[in-house]
């Protein structure tokens, strides 16, 4: 028997506000650490410091895609609404970090390459990913029925996530301009501390953002369902 209404209990534990405060504080500390502890790069000079935002933002973009994949699959399997709301929240946050990555990439690229856009492999792939995110969000905007919206965006989310590595591979084969992937092991040890700290800082901020977005979605749903319960007269 289908249960009538799951009045979504929206807990607002104080813990999350504390976590948010901590996340942003840690972000500030990490950024300052990165800026202060890293000497200017041989080639890029102080421009290198943009890496402390650009690179973690890129990593978080990927992580968000992965979260979207996970919860889209769960949504298709279990059909529970909260999985759909979580996937959508992660997609929005991911799209934001994706946009940030792109803008910083362009800002870094202008002095380095002399042009705003040089079609290099990583940045171009990131742009394609951004367009995939946009498609996902557009689909959600154009579909009103919640069940249909959940099913369709889950399918689109899974397809998009599957395509991420394939997009990367294909664009990289097409172009080979970008420098070798800077993970902490391959770059100058001077930058490692700042990068690692910022990676975690961005992770915490991502978690906080996704949670807040999810919370907002839950509140909206709870309001809708309260209206339903009223209309049905407590069945």
């Amino acid at each position: 028997m289908t249960t009538l209404v799951h009045p979504l209990v929206v807990p607002r534990p104080r813990g999350w506000s504390w976590f948010g405060g901590f996340a942003f504080a840690f972000l500030i500390v990490s950024q300052v650490t990165g800026i202060l502890t890293s000497p200017p790069d041989r080639d890029m000079g102080d421009l290198q410091k943009i890496m402390y935002v650009h690179v973690p933002a890129a990593w978080i973009t990927f992580l968000c895609f992965f979260v979207v994949l996970l919860f889209s699959l769960r949504s298709l399997w279990r059909g529970r609404e909260r999985d759909d709301l979580l996937a959508a929240s992660a997609a929005e946050v991911g799209a934001t970090f994706n946009g940030l990555t792109l803008m910083l990439g362009m800002i870094w690229g202008r002095p380095t390459w002399g042009v705003w856009w040089a079609w290099d492999a990583r940045l171009t792939s990131t742009l394609v990913l951004f367009l995939i995110f946009v498609g996902y969000l557009a689909l959600r905007a154009f579909v009103e029925d919640p069940q249909r919206r959940a099913q369709w965006s889950a399918a689109v989310g899974v397809m998009g996530a599957i395509n991420v590595p394939i997009v990367y591979m294909s664009v990289r084969w097409w172009r080979t301009l970008h420098q070798v992937q800077s993970s902490p092991s391959t770059i100058d040890p001077h930058y490692v501390l700042g990068l690692r700290m910022n990676a975690f800082a961005f992770l915490f901020v991502m978690i906080y953002f996704i949670h807040r977005r999810y919370e907002a979605a839950q509140v909206a749903r709870a309001a809708e369902q309260a209206a339903e319960a009223a209309a049905l007269g407590g069945m």
Binding site: L76, V128, L129, L131, I132, V134, G135, A138, L139, F142, V143, D145, Q147, R148, Q151, W152, A154, A155, V156, V158, M159, G160, I162, N163, I166, V167, M169, S170, V171, W173, W174
Partner: protein, 228 residues
């Protein structure tokens, strides 16, 4: 036994799609003409210098097929939507993937035929010399077209039933097709030039992988998308 029944359904749906398309007359001719028209516009954009045209031929060809093909994908659901025939279709008991496979087959034939026409036009308009490796080139055309058709048919199942379908389908589809387009364009370009650096093989393998991965995932995901 079940396979035979499934195959029967696939065949019935493909036959139905192709027959209604053929009899409506409007569909294929206009889509194919559109493909050629787009190709001509590319010619204006990139030409008239013969060298420039030849260098851009592969890219222009695939984009023309893509833009015209988008119309075909939405059309493949339009017959059902206009006649309210989607519900009776969904009420036949049986696996949903057979509906998808049938439409896939019909679309593959449709787009394949259109591709042939656009290629022939392209050879003339872009002054392309038919390369010695033309069988390999045919393989690339087939694999690339199939990649377009798989995702096109899948996404059209959703876009054709939502608002702003004309913009939603390209918006969803085009970024997803980047690997297919890059691979097909690069491999075509390489084969047209005689593939001096033997790079086409890698692209062909990518095309194969892409086609397989997405054929499988769309077959699995279709029932969630068509029922909703």
């Amino acid at each position: 036994m079940a396979w035979r029944e499934d195959w029967r359904r696939v065949r019935a749906i493909a036959w139905k799609d192709l027959t209604t398309e053929r009899r409506s007359k409007a569909g294929f001719n206009s889509v194919a003409s559109l493909g050629v028209t787009i190709l001509v516009l590319f010619g204006f954009a990139l030409g008239p210098d013969a060298e420039a045209l030849r260098a851009a031929a592969a890219g222009a060809l695939w984009l023309s097929v893509l833009f015209a093909g988008v119309l075909a994908f939405n059309r493949s659901y339009q017959v059902e939507l206009e006649s309210h025939a989607l519900e009776p279709l969904l009420l036949y008991p049986g696996a949903r993937w057979t509906i998808y496979a049938g439409k896939l087959l019909a679309n593959a034939l449709f787009v394949g035929l259109m591709l042939v026409i656009v290629v022939v036009a392209g050879i003339a308009l872009f002054q392309v010399a038919i390369p010695a490796q033309w069988p390999a080139l045919l393989g690339v055309l087939a694999l690339g077209a199939f990649g377009l058709v798989v995702l096109g048919t899948f996404y059209a199942a959703m876009a054709s039933r939502s608002r702003a379908r004309e913009v939603l389908l390209p918006l969803l589809l085009f970024p997803m097709l980047v690997p297919v387009l890059l691979a097909a364009m690069s491999a075509s370009k390489a084969f047209l030039a005689g593939d001096p650096m033997h790079e086409a093989g890698a692209w062909v393998r990518l095309l194969l992988a892409y086609d397989l991965i997405f054929l499988l995932s769309t077959l699995l995901a279709f029932e969630h998308v068509i029922e909703a």
